[in-house]
């Protein structure tokens, strides 16, 4: 233990050490620390504000007389006598498009991730991956435009339909848009599988293929699952692409070749035309609540899986 000498002439404050400059610097440090904490809290504030305002604007509808029409089978917000705000056709549309996109993108994206992480040569790793990630940067309105002008006529002629604006066109484009997310996070998960797992498998005489499919992929499965969920989150929330290519007919159907309407597209298409504060306006916020809760849960579960298995992916 170090003890202070009982008496010493240097006990009185040393004017050099106690210079006002040091004090000011320490004070400034404390102020900056407080400011940083306030700035850091912005994210929490914004999230709370988002939940608060979406809920606040949805509440009048839920309290109002039309609330029970949310369970109707028809979304018919503009009508002379019988407005009906049935969410079911919109949920149907969102689910159908999401299901199509998921069924297409998951096998392809996971396959690509495994190839890039386990099989490809250096050249492919260095060039193909950034190229696919490029896709993540293409604005959704540009992809929607491409769908409208190129893919939709193609679908129309391939299936001999009167119009190429349907759930399949939307699903195909969304499959492509979810791919970079799934590929990138799956690849992180695959790469975080310890090399010793693979070495042990190879040492036991398993072939490279057996090692990949029976050791590496199962070990990375939680991360791949989370990647898929984050990809689906992106698909559910995607707005412009679907708005431009799915035809926007709010009907109940399970056919990929029918025109449907998603929750996101409904908000985007109708919000511009409603009078603020009207029933229709508040109903659209109800759709927003459903959308916000759905993506929030998907994200939360995915992050939980990633954290639990320590497969940390990028946002």
């Amino acid at each position: 233990m170090w003890r202070k000498p009982a008496t010493s002439p240097s006990d009185k404050p040393n004017p050099l050490l106690q210079s006002s400059g040091m004090g000011r610097a320490a004070f400034r440090d404390a102020v900056i620390s407080a400011l940083l904490k306030i700035a850091g809290s912005t994210s929490i504030l914004v999230v709370l504000l988002i939940f608060f305002f979406i809920a606040k604007e949805a509440a009048p509808f839920l309290m109002g007389s039309q609330a029970k029409t949310l369970l109707n089978l028809r979304w018919l917000p503009v009508s002379f006598e019988n407005e009906s705000y049935g969410l079911l056709p919109l949920l149907n549309g969102s689910l159908l498009v999401t299901a199509i996109a998921t069924l297409i993108t998951v096998p392809l994206s996971v396959c690509t991730a495994v190839y890039l992480s386990e099989v490809s040569n250096d050249w492919e790793k260095n060039f193909l991956k950034p190229f696919i990630e490029l896709l993540a940067g293409i604005p959704s309105v540009v992809i929607g435009f491409f769908g409208l002008v190129v893919l939709s006529p193609l679908i129309k002629s391939v299936f001999g339909l009167p119009s190429g604006m349907n759930a399949l066109t939307g699903g195909l484009l969304l499959a492509l848009m979810a791919a970079p997310t799934i590929i990138s996070i799956s690849e992180d998960a695959l790469r975080s599988v310890p090399a010793s797992f693979k070495s042990a498998s190879l040492a036991l005489g398993a072939s490279h293929l057996e090692t990949v499919w029976k050791v590496t992929v199962p070990a990375a499965l939680p991360g791949i699952t989370a990647a898929v969920m984050l990809g689906i989150g992106r698909v559910v929330g995607e707005t412009m692409t679907v708005l431009m290519v799915i035809g926007n007919a709010p009907i109940l159907t399970a056919s990929p070749l029918e025109s449907v309407r998603t929750m996101t597209a409904t908000i985007a298409a109708e919000m511009g035309e409603v009078p603020f504060g009207s029933e229709h306006y508040h109903a659209l916020f109800c759709v927003g609540v459903v959308l916000l809760l759905a993506t929030f849960c998907l994200n939360l579960v995915a992050r939980f899986i990633l954290k639990k298995y320590r497969m940390v992916g990028s946002v």
Binding site: S41, S43, E57, L116, L128, P139, T239, F276, F285, V315
Partner: protein, 304 residues
């Protein structure tokens, strides 16, 4: 004699083993070939979209296109107001989100004691990153446009976009701060510098490349988003330049949407649509490319 008798037996077992191994090798080659095919299919899809936009958009882009006002509701003339609108929106969004985002990252990585508060903060950041863009639009409409009374304006749209890109900037900045070795901080602190002096003089400068990369990427994202500005700022057809942040503006992504889906002669104005799409693509991909260049340049510059 016995050796000649055993030899044939050995050879058959060898060929059987060889056959099995050859089959396994074949299966492996086939599987990997298939996987390679899938990967190249993905690459082809991306390449085709980019190619289609570039090939059809290039003829439409000329000096008149980027410097003139639109005429006949966008069928003729240029798209100058949309370009100016997008630039002003992105500038405002970055101007707000960058200081806040970097400060958040510094707080998270340098100041905060890891605990319940930082856990909450991280949860908020990933939640924010997962909120659908149209919900940001609803939020901007309810808060900035109506409650705060900004109206449909650059201010409302820019702030909405700022909320949207905030998580990207925070995560990129924090990742960048994490790569700065501890010794950089210890050295400065040991010399008597305060925490802020240490961070400002000895940590942030070296984290700048990573922060810049994240910023540049979010510029691309902010420039390309349509749904949030659809509800908070974008004007259908407004061939004037904005005078203040309280004005409505046209914006590139919304202009493309309007031309492609709402225009009465949508098929006839195809070149204008492709031109707008290409310009948008160039801005966004140009920003991504810039980010990659930054990353590679600084990666070579600093080594520790």
């Amino acid at each position: 004699m016995s050796t000649t008798a055993t030899l044939p037996v050995q050879t058959t077992s060898l060929t059987q083993g060889g056959l099995a191994r050859r089959n396994a090798k074949l299966a492996e080659m086939l599987t990997y070939g298939l996987m390679r095919l899938v990967t190249y299919l993905m690459v082809f899809a991306v390449g085709y979209i980019v190619f289609d936009i570039v090939a059809n958009g290039l003829p439409a882009i000329n000096w008149e296109f980027v410097s003139q006002f639109p005429r006949r509701s966008g069928a003729q003339g240029g798209i100058l107001p949309a370009i100016v609108g997008t630039i002003s929106l992105v500038t405002l969004a970055i101007g707000v989100a960058l200081p806040l985002g970097v400060a958040s990252a510094v707080y998270l990585n340098e100041y905060a004691k890891q605990g319940r508060f930082t856990d909450m903060l991280r949860l908020a950041i990933v939640t924010l990153a997962g909120v659908p863009s149209i919900v940001f639009g609803l939020f901007g409409l309810a808060l900035f446009v109506l409650v705060l009374g900004f109206g449909a304006s650059i201010l409302a749209g820019g702030l909405t976009l700022a909320c949207m890109i905030l998580p990207t900037i925070i995560v990129a900045s924090e990742e960048s701060l994490k790569t700065i070795p501890k010794s950089f901080r210890e050295g400065s602190l040991a010399l008597g510098a305060t925490r802020w002096q240490t961070i400002f003089k000895n940590v942030l400068p070296y984290a700048m490349p990573g922060i810049l990369t994240g910023t540049v990427l979010s510029i691309g994202r902010a420039a390309g988003e349509t749904a949030p500005i659809l509800l908070t700022v974008a004007a259908f057809f407004l061939p004037v330049l904005p005078g203040s942040v309280f004005d409505q503006v046209m914006a590139l992504p919304y202009h493309l949407y309007v031309l492609a889906t709402q225009h009465p002669e949508a098929a006839a104005v195809r070149p204008m649509q492709y031109g707008t799409a290409l310009l948008l693509l160039l801005i966004v991909l140009g920003m991504s490319l810039l980010a990659i260049v930054f990353r590679n340049y600084f990666r070579g510059k600093y080594r520790w």
